[in-house]
């Protein structure tokens, strides 16, 4: 059951990612991205991280995807404004390059010493210490306080930059 679900999720996420990078219409690419985010959230759930799964939907699905959709609707690009796509040979070589990268990574995963045949350790039944909001919170306020504070600075900086970029006359 668990394996079937994993395979299904893997297939759907790979397919949606492939569709995403190949769709010409950015709107459909965004929809594919939505599917991808959804499957990733489900994968997080399978990896016993419900908090992160919810975060995935909330941040990616709610905010990032919304931002993308908004931009797409805002621009409403006409076909001629999408820009000419690169030639087939270029795409082919890019495909080969990324395939090589994928194979290399898979090789690294499959033949690295730590990984071989590693199945996930069983979590004690009923306990939800791993992956819950509390455990993540404890982690953040234990060792990761500085990154936590820096995230706020980063976000403010990003938003300030984005506002400066988009709002011309201020």
């Amino acid at each position: 059951m668990s394996d079937v679900m994993f395979v299904a999720l893997a297939v759907v996420s790979t397919a949606s990612a492939l569709l995403l990078v190949t769709r010409r219409n950015p709107l459909y690419a965004a929809l594919c991205m939505m599917v991808l985010f959804g499957t990733t959230a489900l994968l997080f759930l399978k990896l016993s991280a419900p908090f992160l799964a919810a975060m995935q939907v909330l941040v990616y699905g709610g905010a990032v995807l919304m931002l993308f959709l908004f931009t797409i609707m805002l621009l409403n690009l006409h076909p001629e404004e999408l820009g000419s796509e690169k030639g087939l040979t270029f795409k082919l070589s890019a495909g080969i390059l990324s395939a090589v990268l994928a194979i290399f990574l898979i090789y690294a995963v499959k033949f690295s010493r730590d990984m071989t045949g590693g199945s996930f350790p069983e979590l004690p039944a009923g306990s939800a210490a791993f992956g819950s909001a509390e455990s993540v919170g404890e982690g953040i306020f234990d060792a990761f306080v500085l990154p936590f504070e820096l995230v706020s600075v980063l976000i403010v900086a990003a938003v300030a930059g984005a506002i400066v970029l988009t709002k011309k006359k201020l």
Binding site: P50, A53, Q56, V57, G61, G62, A63, M66, M73
Partner: protein
């Protein structure tokens, strides 16, 4: 999971799903009769006793309407959007506890579809998707009113989602999780509101978190696009907004989605702030059949009251303007919610130390 459990779960889910679908006609007739009484009218009273079958007549009419797909629409999104509008609020209902549960032997029937430990987050995550339906519907129909409505819809629901999130965070903060269960589980939030202070005063969050309550209330109206925040479909400006080009069953799906969202938000308000299924002076969570049924009834009564508030407010108030809506959201509710969180944190830490 045993076979019995699976069957019971399926039946339960089916029952909840049906009930949720039935909430639409109930709300519709409540709204139509209610508004007619507000306006000194009689309202629809021809279909069935007291006009109770009117929504079904409407639905039947919509089924038998010509199904038009206008020429300029984006076909995929045009069909996807109504489904999305319907799916999102229904799915979000999974974590709402609508009763205490019944215990027979060692088999427990909980009146909640799924009690996630991160139920609140699940809810917020699903709700954050709720504006997609409006966006897709508005944008797909390639109609200026629809497109404007889509833009407004996103901007509005996005703004009030923050306020809602922060209000819910305050609720989570005021929920006691000392017993080891997560305060992000909906059942914990409800259970924590059972009982009384000093023996008579309900331990409802509306009393401990009044600011969060009003923020949530405002955000709730905004999220469901109801007056005074009904910019998305305000008839006087955008004709029918994102529904303009929809007809037949697809229109009714958008309509149903809207009312299910309303039902969901009412249920959420009840759960977060009005004690859910609990009754302050009586313990309904003992697992007995009577207690279970009574708790469902308590929940429904509270739910009806909140749903009526929706209708009552809608037919009383004028509509805000877009900039005022944004002002209210960003300049009033969000800072207020942040201040509320800070204050709650101070009080919480102070009480503990």
């Amino acid at each position: 999971m045993s076979t019995l459990e699976i069957i019971v779960t399926c039946i339960k889910v089916l029952a909840v799903f049906t009930a949720l679908q039935m909430a639409v006609p109930v709300l519709v007739i409540m709204e139509r009769r209610g508004v007619s009484f507000i306006q000194d009218r009689v309202g629809p009273d021809r279909c069935g006793p007291f006009g109770l079958l009117q929504p079904f007549a409407d639905a039947a009419k919509l089924v038998f309407k010509e199904d038009i797909t206008p020429r300029h629409v984006d076909k995929l999104l045009y069909f996807l959007a109504p489904a999305f509008c319907l799916i999102v609020p229904t799915v979000a209902f999974a974590v709402v506890p609508f009763g205490s549960g019944i215990r027979i032997g060692d088999f427990t029937l909980s009146f909640q579809i799924a009690d996630f430990r991160v139920g609140v987050l699940y809810l917020l995550a699903i709700l954050s998707m709720s504006s997609f339906g409006v966006v897709c519907a508005g944008w797909a129909q390639n109609n200026k009113y629809g497109t404007l409505s889509a833009l407004r819809g996103v901007a509005q629901s996005v703004s009030y989602e923050i306020a809602m999130c922060l209000a819910v965070v305050a609720v989570v903060m005021s929920t006691n999780s000392d017993s080891g269960v997560s305060s992000t589980a909906m059942s914990t939030i409800v259970a924590d509101q059972g009982g009384t202070y000093l023996g008579f005063f309900p331990k409802w969050n509306v009393f401990t978190q009044p600011i969060a309550f009003f923020i949530f209330l405002a955000a709730m109206y905004a999220e469901t696009n109801r007056t005074p925040f009904d910019f998305v479909e305000c008839e006087q400006e955008l004709v029918a907004g994102y529904m303009t080009e929809y007809g037949s069953m697809k229109f009714s799906m958008l309509f149903m989605g809207e009312y299910i969202a309303m039902a969901l938000q009412s249920a959420l308000l009840v759960t977060f702030f009005l004690g859910g299924w609990t009754l302050p002076w009586v313990d309904l969570g003992d697992g007995s059949i009577a207690g279970g049924i009574a708790s469902v009834i308590v929940f429904l009564v509270k739910w009806f009251a909140v749903a009526w508030l929706y209708i009552w407010v809608r037919w009383t108030l004028p509509r805000l303007r877009y900039d005022k809506l944004m002002d209210l959201g960003w300049k009033a509710l969000v800072p207020l919610a942040l201040i509320n969180i800070v204050a709650t944190a101070f009080v919480g830490v102070w009480l503990r130390s």
